[in-house]
């Protein structure tokens, strides 16, 4: 491709993007965290960030020639760079903003949730990183098709990889757009479009090279920002962690929040005990089975996430794949520990009550802490730090979405088009063109899904993405790699059955909206409010007229909400109530996924799969015949 043409195309997108974002700010009407006086500075920081990443994309675009360049950056990435890129691919907005918020609102349980995302790298390191490097070229489908039927396995693996990528991508985009609107007032649709345009630019023009650079930069910026926030949080305590926690649990703001808001006065705790309760479990994760199910999905799903697997095809050999997981674990571990302390610092300095005013899920805890530590809402430094953290959060979303898009596009172009439709026969030019068209298709899908999901609660899709990966992709991958009798029928049954079961279980779970339950809840609210109104009328001296009017309005609003729901209203799949109580299907769907591969492999044997077992085992263990990385 002509580099000059690329330059023009990439640079032409800079003013387009600036225009999109600026028009977003111009029509912003909602109340935002960044003050009016500092909007210009915020936009400048965003512009510098993305100008730099687009320049990197331009440099990468000049070097992209072949499909190998596009999908795996030529396969010559070193361990530290790939490790940081894995961290950049993996550390999502859900971890940085979501979990720091969970810790700020619920204390210990936020940590219990976060740990799973780190422990997940143990199976990645032990079970999949090296064999995938030794046996695959660009995708999960390559590894599965090594000994199983080429076309059918590739299509099944591609479909489940795309489903996982979309499930994981939509909440990232929705979450990012909601946060940007709250921070700097960019309307939802504009923000989704900005994520789409940026990600598309990186991936279409720069392929894996640019995506890797963006992920590395994002990982370094994210860890550095977290580090600065923790240092500033600890400085007043002379970097004495114990002192910090003593001060946190003695904080009257936190004590009253725990006892009144979280425990609703249900436990007779002294103020000191209420503060200490914040460092104990049970304020957020209340159902052990649910915790186990989500934990299983997180720990096992990561090892079969297409965007994580794809990173192992960018290194020259298994040793480098191993080292890159070690570097990734170091970067992710350090970042997680910093996020834990950011969460507690936000609870201490900003306070949960102030955080939930701006976002019920607590997603703005880290940016609010940055603003506070920099000097507060009216200070230049405070707003600079807020803008910086917001830009890092936005970069986090774009980098993760870029990785997912590239993984989904490779499944679509390499597995479905080149593999299944062209039976592996396509020229380099055709492959690169297919990859670009697939990337564009995925970008359009993700922007459309993002816009359609406006106002929907899509947070559970993250857990579902992990559950599909753990129930469909992982059993097929592990049994293809490690079980001699695994056959094509087993792999297909596992992938199709695991994916379908996970989705069906979520469709009949409490994650869906059940109108009749909402109606019952609204009627219960009306009854409770009416009792309070009667009490207030009896004891008129203790309650003001305004307070009584407010109660009446709330009661009328709840009654109207109940009346608006028909008596026979059902959920999306026609249910009046959920069939199962689990929100995450992992504990059912993961064992079923493994069982399906096992049973169908025994029932329908596959001569080719058995015949290629010895070759697979030798190559898996020794790395002989691994595709030669292009020397750069």
């Amino acid at each position: 491709m002509n580099p000059l043409l690329n330059t023009k195309r990439v640079l032409a997108l800079v003013p387009a993007l600036a225009l999109v974002l600026a028009s977003g700010v111009a029509c912003a009407q909602t109340k935002v965290l960044v003050g009016d006086d500092f909007q210009g500075m915020t936009m400048a920081i965003f512009a510098i960030f993305f100008g730099a990443t687009l320049f990197i994309t331009y440099l990468a675009a000049k070097r992209n020639r072949t499909a190998t360049d596009y999908y795996t950056a030529g396969g010559g990435i070193g361990p530290i760079r790939n490790g940081l890129a894995i961290a950049g691919d993996y550390l999502s907005a859900a971890a940085f903003l979501g979990v720091s918020g969970l810790i700020a609102l619920y204390g210990y349980d936020g940590i219990a949730y976060l740990i799973g995302f780190f422990v997940a790298f143990i199976p990645v390191l032990l079970l999949v990183a090296e064999p995938c490097r030794n046996l695959g070229r660009y995708t999960l489908g390559d590894v599965l098709a090594y000994r199983n039927s080429f076309r059918s396995t590739k299509v099944a693996a591609a479909v489940s990889s795309i489903i996982v990528a979309v499930f994981y991508m939509v909440p990232q985009i929705v979450g990012g757009a909601v946060i940007l609107r709250a921070l700097i007032g960019i309307p939802y649709e504009i923000s989704v479009l900005a994520v789409g345009i940026l990600m598309l630019t990186y991936v279409v023009f720069g392929g894996m090279r640019a995506t890797t650079s963006v992920q590395v930069i994002k990982a370094i910026l994210l860890i550095s920002s977290c580090f600065v926030l923790v240092i500033l949080s600890w400085a007043p305590f002379g970097f004495n962690v114990s002192e910090f926690f003593v001060s946190l649990t003695h904080n009257p703001m936190l004590q009253s929040y725990v006892s009144e808001t979280l425990l609703k006065g249900s436990q007779a705790l002294g103020m000191q005990e209420a503060g200490q309760r914040f460092l104990e479990s049970g304020l957020y994760l209340k159902n052990p089975l649910e915790q186990l199910s989500l934990g299983l999905a997180l720990v096992l799903g990561t090892a079969a996430m297409p965007h994580i697997l794809m990173r192992f095809f960018t290194v020259p050999d298994a040793k480098t794949a191993r080292s890159s997981v070690l570097w990734a674990m170091l970067a992710i571990g350090v970042c997680h520990l910093l996020i834990v302390f950011i969460g507690f610092a936000a609870a201490h300095y900003v306070g949960a009550k102030a955080i939930v005013v701006l976002d019920k899920g607590g997603n703005l805890a880290a940016p609010m802490l940055a603003q506070f530590l920099g000097g507060g809402a009216d200070s230049l430094v405070g707003n600079f730090m807020l803008a910086f953290v917001a830009a890092v959060a936005f970069a986090t979303i774009v980098a993760v979405v870029a990785g997912l898009t590239l993984a989904a596009a490779s499944a679509l172009a390499h597995d479905v088009y080149v593999g299944a439709i062209r039976n592996g026969r396509a020229t380099e030019q055709e492959q690169v063109r297919a990859a670009r068209v697939a990337t564009l298709t995925m970008a359009v899908i993700c922007v459309v899904c993002g816009i359609l999901a406006k106002g929907q609660n899509v947070a559970h899709l993250v857990g579902l993405g992990y559950a599909v990966a753990a129930s469909a992709n992982l059993p097929a991958l592990l049994m293809t790699l490690y079980w001699k009798r695994c056959s094509t029928a087993g792999v297909l049954a596992g992938v199709i059955g695991g994916t379908t079961l996970s989705i069906v279980l979520v469709l009949v779970s409490p994650n869906m909206t059940y109108p009749l339950q909402q109606k019952t809840a609204a009627l219960a609210t009306v009854a409770a409010l009416d009792l309070r109104i009667v009490d207030a009328e009896k004891n008129s001296s203790g309650v003001t007229v305004e307070a009584r009017d407010k109660l009446r309005k709330e009661s009328a609003s709840a009654a109207a909400q109940a009346a608006a729901i028909a008596d026979d209203a059902t959920s999306l799949v026609g249910l009046k109530a959920p069939l199962i109580s689990l929100r995450n299907p992992g504990i059912i769907s993961i064992p079923v996924g493994f069982l399906l591969v096992f049973i169908f492999s025994l029932l329908i044997a596959d001569k080719r799969a058995i015949a290629r077992w010895e070759e697979l085992a030798v190559r898996r263990e020794t790395g002989i015949g691994v595709e030669q990385a292009v020397a750069h």
Partner: protein
């Protein structure tokens, strides 16, 4: 498609006792570390469900066992990764001694 000669080569290597020794050793290390990591991780929900009071006991200042145990997952994860890397380095040498260089083979352009 593999030709018969190549197929025989894979078969010969697969039947090499040294290869089996390496394969067995790798399986032993991987399974042990996987089980240790999994048990350690799921011990958190197990304790918070069945014996929550263990985690409430104070360790130093207001920091309790639960908090320290939770954060200990990170160094333990690091230790598991380190032990794995050390063991694999030894196995890399074994593979090299088998005469099957794990280095990537040059592919024809």
């Amino acid at each position: 498609m593999q030709n018969d000669n190549l197929s025989d080569t894979w078969s010969t290597m697969y039947r090499n006792p040294q290869f089996h020794a390496v394969s067995r050793q790798r399986r032993r290390v991987v399974l042990t570390l996987f089980i240790v990591g999994t048990l350690f991780y799921f011990s958190i929900p197990a304790v918070t469900t069945f014996y929550p009071s263990i985690f409430h006991a104070r360790l130093f200042g207001v920091v309790n066992i639960g908090l320290a145990y939770g954060l200990l997952q990170y160094p333990i994860g690091g230790l598991i990764a380190y032990i794995y890397a050390i063991n694999m380095r030894k196995l890399d040498l074994e593979v090299a001694r088998m005469g099957a260089s794990p280095q990537p083979r040059k592919e024809l352009a």
